[in-house]
């Protein structure tokens, strides 16, 4: 069985891959936002994939698609809508690669937007099962594991406070509201344009 893992370059996704890689053949996908960010997250993803002995890493540049979401949707819904688009793109790629699952490092209670309500709305954008081995892990457990598997040094940024000090604003989402907002976008076209930027980097 194969899974396509979403690899951000941070702590969580690398640890999630580590936990599942004995059971599954892992392919990985990173979404780059260059030029709106630098290429450090992509470099980290490549290093992490090598460390985790992932043989297939793909990168999609998602900057234009993010720009369109920022331009056409309410910014309070940006996180959910961009994630839903990413999962749709990942699902398309996963099918082409004959993967059975998507895999991510989402966990509850650490980042404001990763609430059960949001995860539910995000998950409903795709039909493929999403594996979330870290769902009930807390940040300390994830960091401890990242140190143990030696991905910690790769994932950590130059300034840790922003990575480790998220706040917890109340965040709720509603599928109907999000789906209505998505009518401002041409989702099919955005998936196509995303896949057009696909690169295999490992």
């Amino acid at each position: 069985m194969k899974a396509l893992a979403l690899l951000s370059g941070g702590f969580d996704s690398a640890v999630a891959i580590y936990l599942m890689k004995k059971q599954l053949e892992i392919y990985a996908l990173h979404f780059s936002l260059e030029p709106f960010t630098n290429n450090t997250p992509e470099k980290k993803s490549i290093e992490l994939a090598k460390k985790l002995k992932i043989k297939n890493l793909y990168v999609i540049n998602h900057s234009k698609e993010h720009e369109e979401i920022v331009n056409k949707c309410e910014h309070k819904n940006y996180y959910i809508i961009s994630r839903r688009l990413m999962y749709r793109v990942a699902e398309e790629l996963a099918r082409k690669l004959n993967c059975n699952y998507l895999l991510d490092g989402c966990n509850l209670g650490q980042v404001s937007s990763q609430t059960l309500s949001n995860l539910s709305v995000i998950s409903q954008s795709v039909n493929m099962p999403i594996l979330r081995p870290l769902l009930c892990y807390d940040k300390d457990q994830i960091i401890k594991l990242a140190r143990k598997i030696e991905t910690y040094e790769i994932s950590k940024g130059p300034e840790m406070c922003n990575v480790l000090g998220p706040k917890h604003p109340a965040t709720r989402s509603n599928l109907e509201i999000i789906e209505k907002e998505e009518t401002n976008l041409n989702i099919k076209k955005l998936i196509e344009s995303s896949l057009n930027s696909l690169r295999k980097v490992l």
Binding site: S8, H30, S32, H75, Y78, S113
Partner: protein, 64 residues
């Protein structure tokens, strides 16, 4: 002074900064982790800022 909304913290603040790089430094935010929206448009990480600019710092979403 520019108005800055920080999505991750769900708060708005006023900052005196000449460009977005300086702004990140003042706010102690790792530039890898945010997208900068100036007056409703995504901008590059090192753009100049003017008084009365309305900024939003949205979390970067690059994968898992």
């Amino acid at each position: 002074m520019v108005n800055v909304f920080i999505e991750r913290e769900n708060k708005t603040t006023k900052i005196n900064a000449r460009n977005s790089k300086e702004l990140m430094k003042i706010l102690n935010i790792n530039p890898e982790t945010v997208l900068i929206v100036k007056n409703n448009e995504l901008i590059l990480p090192e753009e100049n800022l003017n008084d009365k600019d309305e900024l939003k710092l949205l979390s970067v979403i690059s994968g898992g």
